[in-house]
């Protein structure tokens, strides 16, 4: 029995590795020199990473991605959590309408906003700025909806006790609701961060200055410099790709369960 279990686990592991083999091989490839790759041998080298950072500015892109995704996550969570708190706990005129408007954004394809948002930012001079990358991504109907559902599950008695002690709404939110909702907020934070980390079309239209490239833009440009069938420096491209993927992979192994829970909860209920 034990043996059989080990065998299926091993088989599953092999199947999983096979499934991921293109990406795994690309990571492996990034550690060899172009010469050895095209000759058909293997020569270990960190040179591709050096080139990506020194000649192609990937350290800068990495920092940009962290700034943009980090800010979108922090501000987005703050905005969504306060709104979710109001939707879950207060009776006010227009609440259902405003909540409906928020949830309806989930149905709206984001591409309809592409041209108008570009024009809006151009008008106020925010193209080619961090703010221009961050602001249009802040509102997240799904996070607001999800957090509101979660907060509704928290017993009201807890809020009321705090109000009796003289707390104000924001203090109740910060001292009672947020600590209890930490798992939900964490799941949503991951969800927002990942979505923004991988965002491509908006940075593509909103940014022309190379200094503001995110990793996705930098990688796409590095590859498209020579996309034909000429001799692409594949190991270099794969090093850049690995830099783009790696933070997400680390995060995945740290928090897989949170992530999967956040995603299935959104879909099933």
């Amino acid at each position: 029995m034990k043996l059989r279990q080990n065998a299926t686990t091993a088989l599953a592991l092999v199947a999983g590795l096979l499934f991921l083999s293109p990406v795994l091989y690309s990571i492996w490839m990034s550690f060899q020199t172009a010469q050895s790759y095209y000759r058909g041998g293997f020569e270990f080298s960190l040179g591709n990473y050096g080139t990506a950072v020194t000649k192609f500015n990937f350290a800068r892109y990495l920092v940009n991605s962290i700034i943009v995704s980090g800010m979108v996550t922090l501000v987005g969570l703050a905005v969504s959590t306060t709104a979710a708190f109001a939707f879950a706990r207060f009776d006010f005129k227009g609440r259902d309408l405003l909540f409906g408007i928020t949830v309806a954004t989930l149905m709206i394809p984001s591409h309809i906003t592409l041209i108008p948002n570009y024009l809006t930012l151009a008008r106020v001079g925010l193209l080619d700025t961090y703010a221009g990358l961050i602001l249009p991504a802040i509102s997240n109907g799904f996070a607001a909806f999800f957090l509101r559902q979660y907060i509704r599950g928290i017993p009201r008695a807890l809020d009321e006790a705090a109000y009796m002690d003289g707390a104000r709404p924001l203090q109740v939110l910060w001292r009672v609701i947020v600590p209890i909702s930490r798992p939900a907020i964490f799941s949503m934070g991951l969800y927002i961060f990942l979505g923004e980390w991988n965002n491509y079309i908006w940075p593509l239209v909103a940014v022309g200055k190379e200094d503001l490239y995110t990793l996705q833009l930098g990688l796409a440009r590095l590859y498209s410099v020579n996309p034909g069938e000429g001799l692409i420096d594949w190991p270099l491209v794969m090093a850049a790709s690995t830099i783009t993927i790696l933070p997400v992979l680390f995060g995945f192994f740290l928090v897989e369960r949170h992530l999967v829970r956040g995603i299935t909860m959104g879909a099933v209920k």
């Binding site: 279990q5 999983g16 095209y38 394809p109 509102s139 996705q216 796409a220 996309p227 790709s241």
Partner: protein, 288 residues
């Protein structure tokens, strides 16, 4: 507590949604009736002529066709594969957790990276795919140069990337089916495939419906893979709708026609969700 409190709490979210989602919808409608190229100081009102131009444009119809073909091929493949795999992986064993993790990874991996990696996999001279074909004694295929196969390559990559998501959602759905129903069906002497067809498939219908809508909508929004790998080529074979929208607006600088296309895409996607909901409504409310 002031009456204003809840309004102040929702104000930031509502403001962001208004500025970056709802106002843009209105201005898209407005722009779709104007002629503009980003530069000229005037934006003359031109009525429906942008729509007329779009409907007379071969690229638009080709793009609609390509997008539809993509959805029609890729969605059934995804659903069938995902349900089959989910049925195997629904148990909470170590091996199924390992496989689920592996399959889920691509869904959170950067699409640009995936596009770049698969550009290598399918590159004619140094790629993995042709390497395998050559090893088996077969000829090389120009995957990204032959208009008849490139769309299939993109469907393959997109399926590979999204399958893990479908599987996870199906597993959550399958685990919600009460075990007694399977036991009852088994007691009645149902064979495994029959149980699957008569019990699992109908009961899992709401999940299937959800995934169907999601993946059709997703197919109509594919952009990144195309922009990185093919730029709509070869010969327009992968010029799907959002890519055409990007091209019209940000390459050809035809804001009016681009906005008209955005409106059409918008109506199409919202309509799609509503029609599908009605068609499947009867089965969705299937109760055990």
């Amino acid at each position: 507590m002031s009456k204003l409190t809840p309004y102040l709490l929702v104000a930031p979210l509502v403001a962001f949604i208004a500025i970056f989602t709802y106002v843009p919808i209105v201005s898209s409608v407005d722009l779709s009736f104007r002629s503009w190229n980003f530069m000229s100081p005037e934006m003359p009102f031109v009525g429906f002529s942008n729509y007329a131009r779009l409907f007379a444009w071969d690229d638009f119809w080709d793009s609609l066709k390509v997008t539809t073909i993509f959805a029609v091929i890729s969605v059934p493949i995804r659903l069938v594969l995902a349900l089959a795999i989910a049925s195997y992986l629904k148990r909470e064993t170590l091996s199924s957790r390992v496989l689920r993790g592996a399959m889920f990874l691509p869904t959170i991996t950067s699409t640009v990276s995936i596009a770049v990696v698969f550009s290598w996999v399918f590159s004619t001279d140094y790629g993995l795919a042709n390497g395998l074909l050559t090893a088996m004694g077969l000829g090389k295929v120009p995957w990204l140069q032959d208009p008849s196969v490139t769309l299939l390559v993109l469907i393959f990559i997109n399926t590979w990337k999204q399958l893990g998501y479908d599987v996870i959602i199906y597993i959550a759905g399958l685990q919600a089916v009460p075990q007694e129903l399977y036991d009852a069906a088994a007691m009645d002497g149902g064979r495994r495939f029959q149980v699957f067809r008569r019990v699992t498939v109908p009961l899992i219908m709401p999940t299937t419906y959800f995934l169907l809508v999601i993946s059709v909508i997703e197919a109509f929004q594919i952009f990144t893979i195309i922009n990185v790998m093919t730029r709509g080529g070869p010969a327009g074979a992968t010029d799907m709708l959002v890519h055409l929208l990007y091209r019209t607006g940000f390459v050809l600088f035809d804001i009016g026609t681009g906005s008209a296309l955005a409106i059409i895409l918008f109506v199409l996607l919202i309509g799609l969700a509503l029609v599908k909901a009605r068609a499947l409504g009867a089965k969705v409310h299937y109760e055990a």
